[in-house]
């Protein structure tokens, strides 16, 4: 605190002595005064903060939900592994359907980094509930021969019953994929289905296999049974293979030659996890539209804040006049109203971010996803409210600061 002693030079022309410098306002005081200004009009504050909150909640929620869905896919991928390759018979040079050699699965197992491999062979037969149903009604279900390593290779699990084993693969018995079981109306083992002119007993039902949707839609029997009862030629159509993660590309390179040394060009190799990875990457596309909607809501909220602040300045002319008479500079009045606007929109931002996070958690929980609210989304939301608050408060604050003290005090 400086205290001037206005003693000498009371007449002095240009009688300036100690320079008068306004005291700085402490940041804490700025916050306190601004908060006080808001507290005086709670209903209006709540309503205009709500506008901001809705915008922010939308944006955080949209980002949160899409992040949660992506996180779910990524975790699924993690669980299923990205080290699986499938080998399929392609087409010959003449466009006919090629076949994989009978020895192919064995050859694939001999590739050093390969940890597991299994084959399936597609047949012409159809599977039906009973012999009374027309042969044309396949329900989109195919009949395949499968070797007993398929379940392990796919890292699949049984929803009910048992997988094929060395004994059951010789008998007229099938394991149904999850979709096949649903379409046939078989949910537990012990029932019978009609395949290629005879009854097959259902051994078990597979749990869903996100990496091999074609297996979900299959009735699977052992190679031996297929050959014996349905005249299957023993040529596999698809080979599933897993290797060490870092060797996937190397394995991919040698697979065609290993599977079919004579005609490697007739072999198609694909990586099923690529589809899931692409899906995970694509979840962002829709998000942008929703983010745009959130941004519009935020903008409208910002206009609401600006409106509230303008009205506030008009109503509080006397307060402004009083503050000026108490020694507030124009700058301090400006800062007060700007801080009020910032505080108002920050309030909306914080509430909105919390609402968005809660909405994300709720939606994710109802979908069985892990709830993920990315920190950058919350940070961005807070940043956006600060920008909005500044923009919305700038004009009202300037108006407040421009008000002359006498004008402010004499208005009734």
């Amino acid at each position: 605190m400086t205290k001037e002693t206005p003693d000498e030079s009371r007449s002095g022309r240009g009688g300036r002595r100690t320079r008068l410098t306004p005291a700085r306002l402490r940041p804490r005081d700025v916050v306190r005064v601004s908060a006080g200004g808001l507290r005086a009009r709670p209903a209006r504050v709540v309503l205009s903060a709500l506008g901001i909150a809705i915008g922010i909640a939308t944006m955080v929620g949209v980002v949160g939900v899409s992040s949660s869905s992506r996180e779910d896919l990524l975790r699924q991928l993690d669980r299923l592994g990205t080290n699986m390759l499938t080998v399929q018979a392609g087409r010959t040079l003449f466009g006919e359907e090629a076949k994989l050699p009978v020895t192919a699965p064995e050859m694939v197992r001999r590739i050093t980094p390969v940890t597991a491999a299994a084959a399936t062979g597609l047949m012409d037969a159809t599977v039906r509930r009973t012999d009374r149903i027309s042969e044309d009604v396949t329900g989109g279900i195919v009949v395949q021969a499968a070797d007993d390593e398929l379940l392990d290779t796919l890292r699949g699990t049984m929803a009910a019953g048992a997988w094929l084993n060395a004994a059951t693969e010789r008998y007229p018995a099938v394991v149904l994929g999850s979709v096949a079981a649903e379409r046939l109306g078989v949910s537990r083992p012990g029932g019978q289905v009609w395949i290629g002119g005879r009854w097959f007993t259902v051994l078990g039902v597979l749990a869903p296999l996100p990496l091999a949707p074609e297996i979900e839609r299959s009735a699977l029997m052992g190679f031996a049974a297929a050959e014996q009862y349905l005249g299957f030629d023993g040529h596999p159509t698809t080979i599933y293979e897993r290797s060490a993660d870092e060797a996937v590309e190397d394995v991919r390179a040698v697979l065609p030659g290993t599977v079919n040394p004579e005609n490697p060009e007739e072999v198609d190799v694909s990586r099923p996890s690529d589809a899931l990875t692409a899906k995970a990457a694509a979840t962002g596309a829709f998000t942008e539209l929703m983010l745009g909607l959130g941004a519009v809501a935020l903008l409208v909220g910002g206009v609401g804040v600006a409106n509230t602040m303008v009205i506030s300045v008009l109503e509080r002319r006397k307060e402004i006049g009083l503050r000026r008479s108490l020694g507030a500079t124009r700058g301090q009045v400006r800062v007060q109203f700007l801080a009020e606007s910032l505080l108002l929109s920050a309030l909306g931002g914080v509430v909105g971010a919390a609402l968005g996070a809660v909405a994300t958690a709720g939606y994710a929980m109802s979908n069985g996803w892990p709830a993920v609210v990315p920190p950058w989304a919350v940070g961005g939301a807070v940043g956006a409210t600060l920008v909005i608050g500044t923009l919305a408060g700038l004009y009202p604050a300037m108006r407040a600061a421009r008000l002359s003290p006498t004008e402010a005090l004499t208005t009734t």
């Binding site: 206005p6 003693d7 009371r10 320079r19 306002l25 108490l326």
Partner: protein, 258 residues
């Protein structure tokens, strides 16, 4: 003639508002340290403009205004703000108290722009409220106090920073005569302890109470009289000591709430 220093010095001050409305037409006025001056005149006489000049709330069209030795014309808006914060205290006809805020905080906030640390602000505010006889009402909110008490809070706010000059614009205009007398008594006490006070009023009775009376009419000073001995206070004042006011309605609930 107790003023040896000039707290206020106006030389040839005129003020013309847009539309050629001349509110002041050449005013010369000196207020010395320790003066208690009533500036009296009918409405439209220019006394409010005069207060704005003295209070550095506005600048003259021509002439010189010197407050506490500073020439207002030489100062920037920022410097004027600092001058007001340190050298001037204002009391208005309306009390301008923040609703929902205790008397203590209302007064403490008056020191917001003086650079006083928060703790010191509250201590000084408590002292100022003590001076105006409201030491027992620190925690009361404006709506829990009578008009006279509210105006005394406003006076406390104006003098908490111990400014050399206190300007009061119709301080009793919104009060009944008893409450007005309370406020005047407080002002007199403050003056007795050294604060220079300029009081604007249209009320001749209040003007007569002041030791020095400056009459304003049509933008000019028409009279400037001084009573050497303290003037008789208005009848109501004597009966009303400043220290213990009668509790207003609702005082019991307030006391209970504390």
């Amino acid at each position: 003639m107790n003023g040896t220093k000039k707290v206020v010095e106006l030389v040839g001050v005129t003020k013309v508002y847009p539309g050629d409305v001349a509110a002041l037409r050449g005013v010369d006025l000196v207020i010395g340290a320790g003066d208690l001056v009533a500036i009296v005149g009918p409405s439209g006489s220019g006394k409010s403009t005069l207060l704005h000049m003295i209070g550095t709330l506005d600048r003259p069209t021509s002439g010189t205004v010197r407050i506490a030795g500073y020439e207002v014309g030489d100062l920037t808006d920022r410097e004027l703000s600092a001058l007001r914060a340190r050298h001037l205290g204002f009391v208005f006809q309306q009390f301008h108290l923040a609703p929902g805020t205790s008397a203590l905080d209302n007064v403490a906030d008056g020191l917001l722009y003086s650079g006083t640390p928060p703790k010191a602000r509250r201590e000084r505010a408590a002292a100022a409220l003590e001076r105006v006889g409201l030491g027992h009402r620190l925690g009361h909110r404006p709506h829990q106090m009578s008009g006279g008490e509210q105006q005394r809070v406003a006076v406390a706010r104006a003098v908490a920073g111990e400014p050399p000059l206190l300007l009061a614009d119709e301080p009793t205009g919104n009060l009944d005569s008893a409450a007005g007398a309370e406020v005047l008594a407080v002002l007199r006490d403050l003056n007795a302890s050294g604060t220079t006070i300029a009081l604007i009023t249209h009320d001749a009775e209040i003007a007569a109470w002041a030791p020095r009376r400056v009459g304003v009419r049509d933008g000019r000073i028409v009279t400037d009289e001084r009573t050497e001995t303290a003037a008789a206070t208005p009848a109501t004042t004597a009966a009303k000591p400043a220290a213990k006011p009668v509790a207003g309605p609702g005082a019991e609930t307030v006391e209970a709430a504390r």
